[in-house]
Structures are given as C-alpha cells and as structure tokens.
Amino acid sequence: MRMSLTLYIVFFGVGEAAVLLCMIRALRGPTASDRLVAVDAMITITTALLVVLGLFLERRIYVDVALVYAVLAFVGVIAVARYLEKGL
C-alpha cells in the first residue's frame, strides 16, 4: 500500500515549487496585502503537503496536525485582516 518513491518526489516537488513561487511574491510584494495574500496561499499549500507527507511516512497523526494547522492559520489570517481593516 506504500506510495512509490518517484510519485512522492514528483508531488512534493510540485508543491514545494508552488510554495517557492508564493514566497517570491511575499518577499517582493509592493503592499502589505500582497504579502498577506501570498502567505495565505502558502498556508493552504502547506496543509495539503502535510497530508501527503503523512501518506508517505505512513503516520496517521499527520492528518490531525494538518487540521490543527489549518484552524490556527485561519484564525491568524482573520486577525491580521481585521488589523489591516480598522486597526484591531
């Protein structure tokens, strides 16, 4: 039932390339909102990559880690958006 190594490397490499593209935008975004949008996309991609990592390492607990990561990141993004909108 183990996923083959090549497929794992391909999926994880594509995901990491996506994170790298978002990180370029987060580094050189002209405004604060650009950086926040890039970080928001990086959060979603990382949630998916954590589940893929759990499938490769055959650890079921990584799915729980991905769920907690998604919840905390959602709260964080909402908090920063409220701060940008009316100064918290």
Partner: protein, 127 residues
Amino acid sequence: MTITSVIGALIMGFGAIFLFLGAFGILRLPDVYNRLQAGTKCTTLGAFCTIVGVGIAQPDWIFKALIVAVFVLLTNPISAHALARASYKSAVPLYDGTVVDKCREFGECEEVGGAAGASESDAGGEE
C-alpha cells in the same frame, strides 16, 4: 499498487497541478485582487483534490481526510473575503485596466481615497 492507490495518485496529481498554477498566478497577476482570485480558487481546489486523493489512496484515512478537506473548503473563501475587504478599506490601489468600481460608485466605501485610475504611478505593479 492496487486500483485505489492509482486513482488516489491521479487525483493527487490533479490537485498538485492546481496548487502550482495558483502559485504561478500569485506571482504573475497585476494587483492584489487578481492575485487573491488566483490564490484562493486554485489553491482551494488543489488542496481539496490532494487531501481527498490521499483519503482514496489510503482508505482507512478517508474520514479524517474528509474533515480536513471540508474545513479547507469552508474556511478558505472566508479568509479571502476578509483579505479583499481589508485591502479595499485600507486603500490598496486597483489595477489601471479596471473599468468599473461599483463599491466606490454607490458611495458605500467612503474611506477609500483615489482607488481606481486616479494614480498612474503604480502601473501594473511589476518592476
């Protein structure tokens, strides 16, 4: 490899392609709102397909994977809405090719100063 792992790998590959295209749109598109469009829709579908593909490839995990996938599917548009609203209210300029700004026309967003077309200084947003 069994048939479920093959189907799961196909769905995961579909999701990974969508994740990459969303990130590419974030790098390429001209202003915050277009970037938010690409970054939200593509990464939501990509993450949903990837996580459901993991659940199909490993059928013991389908319940937890569906919980994570539905959570991403529900909360990602909410955070995108909050981000777009915050960046409009904090007067982030729109792209110069924008032809209509209904929110400013109807006078619902008074606190935005010179959003559409008023500033030629940041054309395109790219170097």
